[in-house]
Structure formats: structure tokens, C-alpha cells
Subunit: 215 residues, 2 copies
Amino acid sequence: MIPTITAFEQSPDNGLGLARDMPVRWALEEVGQSYDVKLVSFAELKAPDHLALHPFGQIPTYQEDGLTLFESGAIVLHVAQSRAGLLPENAHARSRAIMWMFSALNTIEPVVWDYDIAPLLEGDKPWHAERMIMLEGRLRTRLASLSGRLGADDWLDGAFSAGDLMMVSVLRRLQGSGLLEEFPNLAAYMQRGEARPAFKRAFDAQWAVFSARSS
Amino acid sequence: MIPTITAFEQSPDNGLGLARDMPVRWALEEVGQSYDVKLVSFAELKAPDHLALHPFGQIPTYQEDGLTLFESGAIVLHVAQSRAGLLPENAHARSRAIMWMFSALNTIEPVVWDYDIAPLLEGDKPWHAERMIMLEGRLRTRLASLSGRLGADDWLDGAFSAGDLMMVSVLRRLQGSGLLEEFPNLAAYMQRGEARPAFKRAFDAQWAVFSARSS
């Protein structure tokens, strides 16, 4: 039985692949697992059927053999722990790869998200510019630390792992901000992730959803 | 060899046990693993020795048998996956318990954190009150969803797990805000977590650090 995930019927990102189904699609492609997609409208997200799968009324969800998961990080980790290809065999290296998943989602993403979403939430407020300076400073501090740790390496800890998949997914939200370019090794790291064949297949699949709706 | 964790020499939380060493201490107590603690000053957090362990210059870190981890979520998961007591045996239930860890850290904590930290970061700004209304609304929406899913159950998915440990740890940051009391089942859930003997041992251990410094 192949897993079924949910994704936005009409993603607000205009086909950029920034919604949270993207890391899940990417992980499934990396391990060579085919999957079905159920598209969900914004109205359906808050309907009882979907809330039974995802109490916060969001995407993605993951269903397989009687297991239902939500949270993109948890789904990627489940895929990585149940199939070969996204986590090292060595136990210590495996724990460190998982550490980078948490780091992406709990240390980097919150500051990326606040920075990215502020123009939408409060762009019309007279204090928006003042807030953006604070948010940008906070984000730049974290990116500088991440850049320092990555150094000249290709990936965060040896071979490409679920940790890199999650970190690249989070950094992609900064595309177009100019901030990533202040840290050339992080910009190159993100591009290295996006150049992976599995990433491209995942990107194309979500793009197909977008272009079918807009044509 | 028993693991060594790092914690603040002087926690900014005045002994409330809100710093991120607390869920790690709690997890170690739940599985019956003794541990050493290295206290770190604020100056030492940003020194090369500590940055080699934790690139973002924070606590906690975890060292054991040549493995170094940072990120409280990753450390708790490592402890839970390498010892019995914090994850169910059944594979599906295990994936769901880990899902709740990600949910605590990636869906609940960011909105809790923004709400909690705003008075410190921008309490002196003329637009602070306006922002707090937005932050409180966003947080209340998430808490309502969580409360709906918990319902009348004791824990989020069957027996107490690392998912509950992480969720209770995140909710504790709302103590005193009055917000948790709007959702009596969440307030009771948090208290149920705090009543666990392992929680109390962890709390007392961090309290001892605080009281030794303040006496």
C-alpha cells in the first residue's frame, strides 16, 4: 500500500514549492517511495474529516497502513526511519542527522517564518519597518551561526541526510530576500539541495498541481 | 559512562525551570538515567569551546560516548530512542508520539514563544499592545485546536510519552498568563505532567542550581 499525503489544492505560494507538503514529497522521492496525493481546499482544511487527520487544520498529512501522521518534520522522520536513504547507518551520525532536523524546525524556521510572514500580517502598520529591522537582525544572527558551522562542507554532517533536507527546505523561504546571499556558503548549500534529482521530481509534482489550477 | 548536559549557570527564569535543559533533565529522569551537569555562564555560551558543541551558542548540549548533540528536541528523542520508558513499543504509536514532539516544538512553541518574549523585546514600544492582541489571538487558535484534540484524555495519544513531555514543557511557558486557564483540560494536562515524580526530580535539580546562586 503506498502512502497518501495531503497538499493544498491552491497553494498560496504560486508554485514556488514553499508549502509543507514539499519536504514530505522530497523525502519520499529520496527514498524512492511512490505516493498518492489528496488535494485539499482551504474550506476543507477546517472541515471535520480533515480535522480528524490534522487537529490544527493544516497540510500535510500522511496515511499508510492504518497510521496517520501530521507535522512535516514527523512525517519526514518517519519516512527516513522506515526506509533507507535519508539517515546514516552509524548510530551517532543518525542522532546528529535528526538533530539537524530539529535545528531546522525549532532554531532556524521560527526566525525565518516571523521574518517572512510579517509583511503579510502587519505590512500596513506604521511600525512595520521598525519591526522588520528587529526580525532581520535576529535572523541574520542565526544564519551567521549556521554558516559558520557549515563552513566549506557540502552538507551539515557528512553525507546528505534528512537534516539537510529539512534545513534546505527552511532556507528556501528566504529566496528573494537577499539575506541568504550575505552567506554565500548557505546560498550554495541551498542550491546544492535544489539540484538533487529527488528535489526536482518533488518540485515538478507540486508545480503540476499549481499549473493545472492556473491554466 | 553517564551523559553530561549543559545548563545555564544563572538561568534568566529565576528557578521556574523554563530553560531548555528542563525537558532534557525530565527525559533523563523518566528513563532512570543519571547525568552530570556542566553549568555555563552567558559569556561562556559564546566562547569557542562551547560553540564547538553548540553552533548557536545556547544550552542544552548532551555528550555521551563520543556523541555530541544540541537541540532539546533532538536530545529528548535520542534519550527516548536509546532507553525504555518514553516511547511506546508499537511502531505506529511510536511514530505518533514523535509526531507530538514535533508538534510541540514546531506548531505550538513558536506561537507561545513569540507571545512570551514580546514584552521583553518590544514592551516599551507604542505598538506593543496592538501586537499582543495579534499574538494572543494566534496563540489562542492553536491552543483551542490542541484542547479539542486532547479532549478528556490524560495524554495526547495513549500512555505518557516523549510527545507529552515536550508539549507540557512548552505549555509551562504560559503559566501566569491566564491563557491556559481558558482551556481547563490543557491546564489539567500540564499539571498532570508536573505531578510526575520524574518531573519533580528534574525541577528540583534545576532549582538547586538557582538557589545555590541566589543564596
